[in-house]
Symmetry: C2
Subunit: 287 residues, 2 copies
DNA sequence: ATAGTTCTTTGACTTTAGTCAAAGGTATGG
DNA sequence: CCATACCTTTGACTAAAGTCAAAGAACTAT
């Protein structure tokens, strides 16, 4: 904990300060940040929430950038309350220039290190980032019919449809009422208010729950999030006095199978006739 | 390199922003930073260079903090151009409050992680910090009579005087002229303009150099800096067409001996009658 | 002792950053 | 179609952050 604070202090002094100064070389930091954040186009509303800016403030900065020829503003094709902002070629050049400078600063910062040391630093940073991201993700119980829940299930279905040789039919997803209220539970994992994973629990028979649709967004994989979701589902199952949870999995999802085994699940005979399933697991819950 | 940039971006977004917001809870960020940076007292000049502030700006902030009863200003006892600034008891309370808040934010940030994950994060951060510090240290050739060189030798002498059972006599340090110009070389390691280590090379006999007084400031140990100094000294020796470098070391300095061995030095018979020496080493230089 | 340097203070600015509320044009649910 | 909610723009501010130059006091080197 003290180590964490010490690192933060050192790092923000050392890197953060630089960051600020190179980014806004010839324009205010706010504008530079905005320019950078636009990327391949976005709505003002999106930028406002991403950067946490006041509406008026943002509107003015956008106008200033437009006057400088860095961005183009237009109405959203389907909702003309929203304004879309995108980089002009000149704006793109500017962003690249920012990027080049940032790269040069970073290179200068590391030039004292040898190859092996650089690799070690990269490894350490990747680990730290992975854990910080994981720490920032919260797993929340939501209604099975909540928009975020449905969005996750949609992504899940699209995902496995691409991975299963035989495809996947969305009709085989759980119904919202199966995972809401007394019937079951649905968890969504949020990373900064954006859903990045889900998992469902439903009652299979008295004392027995079934875990379904454990899914993690591609951007949030390899963080250990699936385990967190699984833990939340198991805790919920315990709270509902289930003594056993079961789940099935498709032959193509080998990493998932490995994870279930590592989390204490053991293979059992088929308990249903799910056409997508090739392996069935269960876990006895303590308490 | 890309990984480095990615980490910076993520980290400053995630932590830096928070930092700003909690620090200045009821006072401007600039003042909060200044208050924090004062620590156990400093001169305005020192703070100005540490924080990179304009003299006028700093002067005004100091006055504001004084008016709020947070700091006391006084003249430097020996140079009354300089103004010393130190925390009053009220200021100290304020800094502690800042610190408490920062701690709470940090704790909140990490509460999603388990014990083992936290330990892993701490390890990764410590590694990253160590390497970043090392990357920021530059090793420079200076004149043997330069103030920084003498200051390092002073610290070195005090250091080993405390560690050698028999003490150490400063008269046994190299003379500046032995390590300047054609006679030898002196390197100082700087971390942000502050000397944190040194090492000397002098000619022992034709084709043979001697390395002496390799020292690292206690704050900069365990970074791998001694090796950097050693490498610089060896490179300098090569440039001077020495084919061999020798050095001796005291029985008490066991880590140093291990380092020399790891860097390719082999034990040899005594080549001098240094009263402090118990082990003698040499290394044949390539090229 | 003198010239040049260093450090701080002060006055007089400018630029950034950010806030708040009113107003106007668009969607959306019923 | 109507009330309501949403998104953006504009005007009118404020506070913070930072800059520049002049001036005065104190030190240092010669």
């Amino acid at each position: 904990m003290t180590a964490f604070r010490r690192f933060n202090r050192y790092f923000t002094r050392r890197i953060g300060v630089l960051d600020d100064h190179y980014l806004g070389q010839d324009r205010p930091l706010g504008e530079a940040r905005l320019l950078f954040e636009i990327g391949d186009g976005a709505s003002l509303r999106e930028l406002r929430s991403r950067l946490g800016l006041d509406a008026g403030y943002l509107s003015r900065m956008a106008k200033a950038l437009q006057a400088q020829g860095m961005v183009r503003l237009s109405a959203h094709p389907r909702d003309s309350r929203l304004r879309m902002i995108e980089l002009t070629p000149a704006g793109r050049v500017e962003v690249e220039e920012q990027d080049r400078r940032a790269g040069a600063v970073a290179a200068g910062l590391l030039e004292g290190l040898g190859e092996a040391q650089r690799a070690e630093l990269t490894r350490a940073m990747a680990t730290a980032q992975r854990l910080l991201r994981l720490a920032g993700i919260t797993v929340t119980l939501v209604d099975g019919a909540a928009p975020d829940a449905l969005a996750c299930l949609d992504s899940y279905a699209a995902d496995i449809d691409a991975r299963f040789p035989e495809g996947f039919d969305k009709d085989d997803l759980v119904r919202p009422q199966e995972v809401s209220g007394d019937a079951g539970a649905f968890f969504v994992a949020y990373e900064e208010d954006r859903p990045v994973g889900c998992g469902a629990l439903r009652r299979l028979e008295p004392g027995v729950g079934e875990i379904r649709h454990v899914w993690v967004h591609p951007d949030a994989r390899r963080l250990g999030l699936a385990r967190r979701l699984l833990a939340a589902l198991e805790q919920e199952a315990s709270a509902r006095h289930f003594t056993v949870v079961r789940l099935d999995t498709h032959a193509a999802l080998t990493e998932a199978q490995a994870m279930y085994r590592a989390c204490g699940y053991t293979a059992i005979p088929a308990y249903d006739d799910n056409v997508y399933a090739s392996h069935w697991f269960e876990k006895r819950l303590a308490g």
